[in-house]
Assembly symmetry: C2
Homo-oligomer: 343 residues x 2
DNA sequence: ATTAGCACTCAATACATTAGAGTGCTAACA
DNA sequence: TGTTAGCACTCTAATGTATTGAGTGCTAAT
């Protein structure tokens, strides 16, 4: 069902005011501050309707109204005007990128997380590309000492990983080259999760002479790649203290404890959806964030989704601003990644 | 000046009780709970003396006493009995190490940080070895694609670093080998901070033919190594909520904000001192931690100090337990590092 | 030197009062 | 018939007041 024009205007005003002040909004405030041209009594009637329809709530009988999750949802879908980043914010993003050496994707997204939290004043989270779903672009073994070799892997998603492998006895450079070539031949183009027993045994089959050395390398390499899939970078974790909803020590504690549980955050941010998603309060699947809102977006290279970048904060979030910034930031990021990695 | 025996006993009892309960301790409590064999009135007199001497404080006239920074200091230096880790704690440490793949130092100390915060229930901080003060053990350039090479550096402190370098035009494998050899010859054994203009120009002098390619590699390499010296890993940041002194939202906020300022923490933890140090409240140099205590210890390889591992929490800290655990943990860590890296 | 006893202090708690913001309803009005 | 002025009502937040109790400091007796 669709709301009448006047109800929409009033609902929008209530939400905007509440996002701004964090105080329940009364009918007089609306009438005066937003120049509706109608009396507070009329607004009161409309607000009573809006409450009945579930868009507004009353903390107690004699208080003003605050938006419900449903209210925010309607606001996000139908009422708000997306806010373009201010020139100040655009400047801030530029500066950040200018100061960052753009080499590896991990560094880039760590920086992005910083920018995002600093200009939104919420907590930002950035999910790095999945190692498992990346494919091998190149892999090189190098000998660092008699007992150690280091494997370096570069993926199509721009991730560079190294891992140190102890070997039982010294290895000739010819052998290393041979293994190197074989690994590249067999693994290049495969995603990490595709590297299974059959691939591994096919390598071992073709390199019968090197069994002992292969057995010390491959399991370590395999485990190292698979043990550590995505990482999540947070920033602005103490930003929540800006918002009165977290003046309650219990609330703050819950929020911050969530941030310490990376697995949970990974779950929350890994959900597969493309483009920008907004989850408001109880819409969230996980209990821990049922009184938070999460806005997140995918960043990509070409049309392959690499990871997520998002913001987490109170349901009373400045959605118009956050979504605007997030759009701008992912566009910038996608552009950089494309030029950087797609060659 | 030295305190009389009875005063010492009373002071110890007050501090132990306060560390346990976080409530100001009254004379009756001491008399009853700690079976002094003297009356509360006598204890009152002694406590008044201890206050005059600066070891105890009174939040207000009709409250019990709480230890002052000076009181804690005296306790740490003279009164406390160091607490050996419980068998449960030892077990926890063992488990952690068994589950961790011990390869690179960064992984090890990240894990250590987790163990430390989990068994102390304070916030732990671990300072990684300084890159600048590490010396190059081996350096290898590898070609990943026509436009990218990756440099991998291993230091005597066990740090493995890689950095990606864009090159203007393809490079032959012979050239790469030549540069590789030269870099190793010139840099091995030098600390990173010793790599200055004179070293670099000596390399360029001896490799006149490769000037163009060297110019694209060396600055990037140099910057990458020097830009990022130590890192600090935190864990258990929300542990402070266990302690009533942080029930005040302002206090919690200050504490957590400090933790977001890595530079400050780096300063605090980098101070050069060996072995175990305890800084109590106002003894700390930095304002931000003047109502906290910090206990930290060095970890080493042989007798070279690599970094720090420590705990930060309220001045009402269980010093006896924390110091005991920290001793045990650094011993374990030093042992592992020695076997792992010193070959 | 120690201790019992007592008057005193002060934070914390509970309770009562008030002020004010905001509502819902009714009746009058355009 | 939709809008509005007006008013009684509700409920929180703020403020003031009394009470309680833990703990002290001092004094006088042991």
């Amino acid at each position: 069902m669709s709301l009448g024009d006047r109800k929409r205007t009033i609902l929008r005003a209530v939400i905007i005011d509440y996002i701004d002040t964090a105080e329940p909004v009364g009918s007089r405030t609306i009438a005066k501050k937003y120049e509706m041209g109608i009396s507070s009594a009329t607004i009161r009637n409309e607000m009573a309707d809006l409450e009945e329809l579930g868009y507004l709530e009353q903390p107690h009988t004699s208080a003003g109204r605050i938006p419900s999750d449903k209210g925010y949802r309607f606001f996000v879908n139908e009422l708000m005007e997306l806010q373009r980043p201010s020139s100040y914010e655009i400047e801030a993003v530029r500066n950040f990128f200018d100061r960052t050496t753009i080499d590896e994707i991990d560094n880039i997204i760590k920086q992005i997380s910083k920018v995002l939290s600093s200009i939104t004043q919420y907590t930002s989270a950035v999910l790095s590309p999945s190692v498992k779903k990346s494919s091998v672009k190149s892999i090189q073994l190098i000998q660092m000492s008699l007992t150690d070799i280091i494997a370096v892997i570069v993926t199509d998603t721009g991730i560079v990983r190294h891992c140190k492998i102890k070997i039982p006895k010294p290895i000739s450079s010819n052998t290393l080259t041979a293994i190197n070539n074989m690994l590249n031949e067999k693994l290049t183009g495969l995603t990490i999760e595709d590297i299974d027993l059959s691939v591994i045994s096919s390598i071992q089959l073709e390199m019968k002479g090197y069994n002992e050395i292969l057995n010390s390398i491959i399991p370590v390499l395999n485990e190292s790649l698979k043990s550590f899939d995505c990482d999540i970078f947070l920033d602005g974790t103490t930003n929540i203290f800006h918002y009165p909803e977290y003046n309650d020590i219990e609330k703050a504690k819950n929020f911050l404890s969530l941030l310490e549980h990376k697995e949970k955050l990974l779950d929350i941010f890994s959900e597969d959806d493309s483009n920008i998603t907004v989850s408001i309060g109880k819409e969230n699947i996980y209990d821990e964030v049922k009184d938070c809102s999460i806005v997140k977006a995918s960043y990509k290279i070409g049309d392959k989704t690499l990871g997520k970048i998002g913001v987490i904060g109170p349901t009373r979030m400045n959605y118009a601003k956050v979504i605007g910034i997030l759009k701008y930031l992912t566009d910038t990021l996608n552009y950089i990644l494309k030029n950087q990695l797609d060659e």
